[in-house]
């Protein structure tokens, strides 16, 4: 049975801040820029916004700041920035990743808890060394990881690619095919951090290794920036400035990791379990998708999602990409904007925004003709991951 929420809400506006690195500007400036851009894009005024949602957490691990307005931008801050102390009827802050917040906001506008909900995700480049772990003691979940120097997200996920390469006979050249294709797509996306910087297979293969088999270009590029979207009910969405991107499918992962990133099989199991819920919620399947924006915070997640969601059988993602099927002119154009690896580390908002733009028909030089359904996934496949399907029409 199709999910009750399918087709009842839509994203009706989208806004980006500039994407910079180590900007002297506080993160709040980026959030304000994205919020106003999204509201204007929808053809609304600030006074129309009566719902707010965000993920107020820092998007990093280790010793980094969490100062309001500098490292995070929470709901109370946005209320003040928009001058909406008296006008907000609904708000939510969810930990984790953006699909949780978007699903909550879609439910809120569909149920009438608010009319127009603004959802944003503001992230920065953490101060100092990325995911620095400078602590003398390792408590809780850290006690079986940190004493071994296993504190870096890139290292946690690199073991998944190693196992995949071993089990399925894929190579770094195979991954180069995806990363280079992705960077090529990025050249059609002027808002992307890596726009204007192409990448060759040779450059990928010769790049510094971070945690073998991950090199620098298997990791997304940390940026200072914010992306915001406006949601409205399907009824309200029809009368606004942009063609609506209806939310027709949605799922959250409920697959916990065990043992702190030891067993990469959990990624595929979690993605598959989420995929079942995602397709059921929309009454659609992988074959119905015209484009896919799969989370690529680390390159190996492409394999997790392509296989976990059932686009290809287990172990065949690398050869599927190498066949050209995921290029802009292939049967499943993948990460058409460059997403996390190319656009920037926006914790899933790059995936959401490109899926929305594709079904709105606004993806400019990278628009896939007639794209009616787009899937976006965020996360590694395990807990906190989520998936969204956006469609040009409200009913599948």
């Amino acid at each position: 049975m199709v999910g009750e929420l399918s087709g009842k809400a839509a994203i009706v506006g989208l806004g980006y801040s500039k994407l910079e690195r180590r900007s002297p500007r506080p993160l709040a400036h980026f959030a304000r820029e994205a919020a106003h851009a999204a509201i204007a894009d929808a053809g609304l005024r600030v006074e129309d916004i009566d719902g707010l949602g965000t993920i107020p957490n820092i998007a990093a691990y280790g010793n980094t700041g969490d100062l309001e307005g500098i490292d995070i931008v929470s709901v109370p801050n946005m209320i003040r920035m928009l001058g909406r102390e008296r006008g907000i009827r609904w708000h939510v802050q969810t930990p984790g990743l953006c699909p949780d917040t978007i699903i909550a906001a879609a439910a809120a506008v569909a149920a009438g808890a608010c009319d127009y909900a603004l959802v944003w995700r503001a992230v920065n480049v953490p101060k100092g060394r990325y995911s620095d772990f400078s602590r003398a003691e390792a408590r809780g979940e850290h006690q079986f990881r940190a004493p071994y120097g296993f504190t870096m997200p890139a290292a946690w996920q690199s073991v998944a690619l190693r196992k995949y390469m071993h089990d399925h006979g894929s190579t770094r050249e195979d991954m180069a095919a995806f990363v280079v294709q992705n960077r090529k797509n990025t050249q059609l996306n002027p808002k992307a951090y890596w726009h204007g910087t192409p990448l060759t297979v040779e450059e990928y293969l010769e790049a510094p290794m971070v945690a073998d088999p991950f090199c620098l270009y298997d990791c997304d590029i940390p940026v200072d920036g914010c992306v915001a979207v406006v949601l409205a009910s399907a009824e309200r969405a029809r009368d606004l400035a942009q063609p609506p991107a209806y939310l027709t499918g949605y799922a959250q992962t409920t697959w916990p990791t065990r043992g702190g990133f030891t067993d990469s099989e959990h990624l595929w199991e979690g993605a598959a379990a989420m995929g079942e819920k995602l397709w059921a919620s929309a009454g659609l399947g992988p074959g119905d998708m015209d484009v896919a924006m799969l989370y690529d915070g680390f390159s190996v997640f492409l394999y997790v999602w392509l296989e976990g969601l059932g686009f290809v059988p287990r172990g065949e993602a690398a050869s599927y990409i190498a066949s050209g099927a995921t290029a802009l002119d292939g049967e499943l154009p993948l990460n058409t904007s460059g997403c996390s690896l190319g656009e920037g580390r926006l914790h899933g908002m790059a995936q959401v925004s490109e899926a929305v733009l594709q079904v709105m028909g606004r993806a400019e030089g990278r628009q896939i003709e007639g794209a009616a359904h787009a899937v976006a996934t965020v996360g590694a496949g395990t807990l906190a991951s989520g998936g969204l399907i956006f469609s040009r029409e409200a009913r599948a």
Binding site: G62, R129, Y130, S131, D132, F133, S134, R135, A136, E137, A138, R139, G140, E141, H142, Q143, F144, R145, A146, P147, Y148, G149, F150, T151, M152, A154, A155, S158, V159, A160, R162, K163, H166, P208, M209, V210, A211, D212, P213, F214, R258, G259, G260, T262, D263, S264, E265
Partner: protein, 144 residues
């Protein structure tokens, strides 16, 4: 705490109500893994309840200390304190011989970085960190 000039150590595990028996055994040079008496499953890292059957009937028991490299990485851009920034090291995900997918994180030592392989047989050895904490590590298992 570390004062000026004091050596910067690796993060030292702080045993808690759930994990204390693991570290107490390691300190004696024994690898002990939590085991569920109800469903006969071994569990690592230790948990409050069995993740498979939710039983609280958990106890630690000595294991062989033998296993294989399930997967691994070479950390080259290190960010953990106590590890020299310019000295790459191997993190192995070790699958213990007692149970499929019974996995434990350790450094693979006593072998060149490039020679570590998925499937390589390994066995436990202990690295003393402090008077009360010894870290299980793994080295190539040449057999007896």
């Amino acid at each position: 705490m570390t004062g000026e000039g004091a050596p910067v150590t690796k993060p030292v595990p702080v045993p808690d109500a759930i994990t204390a028996p693991f570290w107490e055994a390691a300190n004696r040079g024994v690898l002990a893994i939590q085991h569920c008496g109800d469903c006969d499953t071994s569990i690592h890292p230790p948990a409050a309840l069995c993740p498979d059957c939710q039983s609280p009937a958990l106890a630690f028991r000595e294991v062989s200390g033998r296993g294989r490299v399930y997967t691994h990485t070479i950390v080259r851009d290190n960010v953990t304190q106590g590890f020299a920034r310019d000295e790459p090291y191997v993190i192995g995900i070790i699958e213990l011989a007692e149970q499929e997918r019974l996995l434990l994180i350790a450094n693979v030592v006593g072998v060149a970085l490039e020679d570590v392989r998925v499937g390589m047989p390994v066995r436990v050895t202990f690295e003393r960190l402090t008077e009360s904490i010894a870290l299980p590590q793994f080295e190539p298992d040449e057999g007896d």
